[in-house]
Amino acid sequence: MISGLLPELEVIRKDFPILERTLAGGLPLVYLDSANTSQKPQVVIDTMVDHLERHNANIARAMHQLGAEATEAFETARDKVAAFIGAPERDEVIFTKNASEGLNLVANTLSFPGEHQLGPGDEVVITEMEHHSNIVPWQLVTQRTGATLRWFGVTDEGRLDLDRIDELINERTKVVSLTWVSNMLGTINPIAEIARKAHAVGAIVVVDASQAAPQLPIDLAAMPVEERPDLLVFTGHKVVGPTGIGVLWGSRAVLDTLPPFLGGGEMIETVRMEGSTFAGIPHKFEAGTPPIAEAVGLGAAVEYLGHIGLDAIHTHERAITGYALQGLATVPGLTVLGPLDPAERGGAISFELDGVHPHDVAQVLDSRGVAVRAGHHCAKPAHARFGVQSSTRMSSYLYTTPDEIDALVEALNYTRSYFKLG
């Protein structure tokens, strides 16, 4: 018996309608691609449907009953998200369209005229294990501003190489932006330690929590302020919420000093043709009609996760990850990229299988109903670091069972035989 699994796993699985689906040939679905996107529980879908069928209206602007209901639902979702991450203030929670928009918002507003505007001589530090969404915005912005982009390397074991930290984070450093949990290597990064260093030189700390928010309990208010990120993003669709919505949390102190990003809609205070003034947070950064039904769905999603408990989910993920690492170790010619200790990593496990290209692995797995991801997982530099073009990745979540891991291992062995690897 594996300890640490969610006690009511079969009941939880019943909450996710898609898990009852069968695939081509009547095969059951073994969904091991949750780091890519998570499945949605019925309560999230039902909440959105109820909103669309009974309370749909535009928010803030509407004074009628439907408008009041929609506004209340939307703002309650903000409260729920604030609670989910322990935000010091609910108004510090900004709804974006996804994590990528949150990161781009931060990078762009740091490039516009203002207190923190980047310029030649300034340095931005990222890492080699970032998702493209935390690389490309900084490349674009440092190119436009003349600032310099630098990065932490990655060790052979898939950890951040902190040897050069004192050289990398220096008095020229204006921003340090890094992922909490790698979507490729699974590595959990020491964000507290890095934030402390970065804050000591006066840099702004941005944390990409896209992979952390689904599986680690987050309590921003409880963090010592030196170790707390200044800005943090995650994405709705990976925390059992809908697509079309993401979250940017930022401390009021920093958000208040950033200029607006997108213009229009409720982000204004007043508009004249000659010039405009802007609303306070959160509205300042929410231009146009926000993803209303999506926010409402996300509220239901984080509430659902909260009921189960992030500690319990984390323990479950660790148990499944440990079991998976053991299982994968039995497959001949299989090499895991990233840390091998489940206590040091998240639930995404990328690997290579000697002699079979990741696409071909994924294809054969798919023919057995096992859904994994193959490719660069939007982390080309991390792949390049390990000298590979692409990898196969399995990723579990709160609904994953040990049986599904067994199915994966069995299908990997079948893949080897299919490609006649003895």
Binding site: A68, E72, E266
Partner: protein, 156 residues
């Protein structure tokens, strides 16, 4: 309660009276011994605006609200609320006025569950019905937020 009753609770006679005959409207020059501060607040959603000036007099520690003068455009609720504010706060010490401010805020943000204290709020209790209309709470608070902001500035 029916929609019609809610409406009547919102538009109390007192509110409509203040709307038609606002107290203290207009911007006035402060007297020689008074300190003053102007603020301009808008409700971004609907466009209601107020320019409000607080006239403060007296020794630090025991300052009084000598006057509140204002220019405003907006709906009945926001106009009546500015008029009631004028009536309630002018003449009070700033500490007393802040206390009234706190009570009014609590009433408005109470979603209809706070019982207003007529001793403190006088005509302001007519706004109890507004608290049930979240979209209108901002209207009722526009002048009150402006007053607080201006007072903090005038006090220095």
């Amino acid at each position: 309660m029916s929609a019609a009753q809610d409406l009547d609770a919102l538009y109390q006679e007192i509110i409509l009276d203040h709307y038609k005959n606002p107290h203290g409207k207009g911007l006035r020059e402060p007297a020689a011994a008074q300190r003053s501060a102007d603020v301009h607040h808008v409700n971004p959603t609907c466009g209601d605006e107020i320019t409000l000036r607080v006239h403060v007099e007296g020794e630090p520690g025991s300052e009084r609200v000598a006057d509140v003068s204002y220019d405003a455009v907006g709906c009945s609720i926001s106009q009546a609320s500015a008029s009631v504010l004028h009536e309630l706060l002018v003449g009070k010490t700033i500490d007393e006025a802040m206390n009234v401010h706190g009570e009014f805020l609590a009433l408005m943000q109470g979603k209809g569950t706070v019982e207003p204290d007529e001793e403190v709020l006088e005509d302001g209790i007519a706004f109890a019905g507004v608290a049930k209309f979240p979209a209108r709470v901002k209207c009722a608070l526009l002048s009150w937020m402006a007053w607080k902001d201006a007072t903090v500035q005038a006090r220095g």
